[in-house]
Symmetry: C2
Subunit: 156 residues, 2 copies
């Protein structure tokens, strides 16, 4: 993993943060994701968490953009796509990222309590993980973390 490097892709991370803010405004945990075609640099899909909005425990931002992109492209594999997400993916999303053959994952805040990439089961480091994306953590970390902190502070 590469830590906190400021990539030109930080514009995508800002869009992911905007999706996260919209999720919070709708009552969902503020996490946002943007899936980008690495060749054309076009955005394929963008979403915030919709667990509460959709009453769907699997509706994390990463799952939504993967599902949308696969349906759109009529392909269950998205090998030429990069994912920007404001929080370290959980084990569910990390496994879906591997299934979808995503090329690179850029994430914002680390998640010691629920993350599955650099924390917990470290999905991509498992010998049974058949595709490991390149991972860049800590991109826009402070904004993503501040958004989450603010959200949970307001709920206490």
């Amino acid at each position: 993993m590469v830590y906190g490097q400021d990539k030109p892709g930080s514009a995508y991370m800002r869009l992911a943060l905007e999706a996260a803010r919209r999720a919070a405004a709708a009552g969902d945990v503020p996490v946002g994701a943007v899936l980008v075609d690495a060749t054309t640099e076009n955005i394929v899909a963008a979403a915030g968490n919709r667990v509460e909005q959709d009453m769907d425990p699997t509706a994390h931002a990463e799952m939504i953009v993967i599902r949308e992109a696969a349906t759109l492209r009529k392909d269950v594999r998205l090998p030429n796509c990069d994912l920007y997400v404001t929080l370290e993916p959980c084990p569910m999303c990390a496994t879906a990222i591997s299934f979808a053959r995503i090329r690179r994952v850029y994430f914002g805040a680390f998640d010691p309590k629920g993350g599955g990439v650099e924390n917990g089961p470290r999905i991509f480091d498992q010998s049974t993980c058949h595709h490991r994306p390149d991972v860049y953590g800590g991109i826009g970390e402070s904004d993503a973390a501040a958004l989450l902190k603010e959200f949970f502070a307001a709920r206490r």
Copy 2:
């Protein structure tokens, strides 16, 4: 985990096997799942894999029944539900099972290559896993394994 115990619930496992057979007939890997209300013993949702049918890398049988049940019940948590699935859940599905607070998981065949419960990341054994269902493995194992073997043999 309890191994291969023949529970009264084996009727549900037979229904899960039927869903798995229908998935195979439609070109998907033959895995099926049934979600049961533990109090009423009614089936809440049943499905086979639909990855290829839906062009959705996340459309494993377990994910489909969890999503359907949560939407149906307008609740992201399903604490009074038991899941019957013909194959050991992968890490994605195991994490979703934990998020949904499923009470018990009965699975058929073990999956050393892709499983995430008794193999690989052993999701429910992670210290960051906040809900651990009771797990019963090897229920109707031979039928579930034979179905998968037959499916992959025909494709080679």
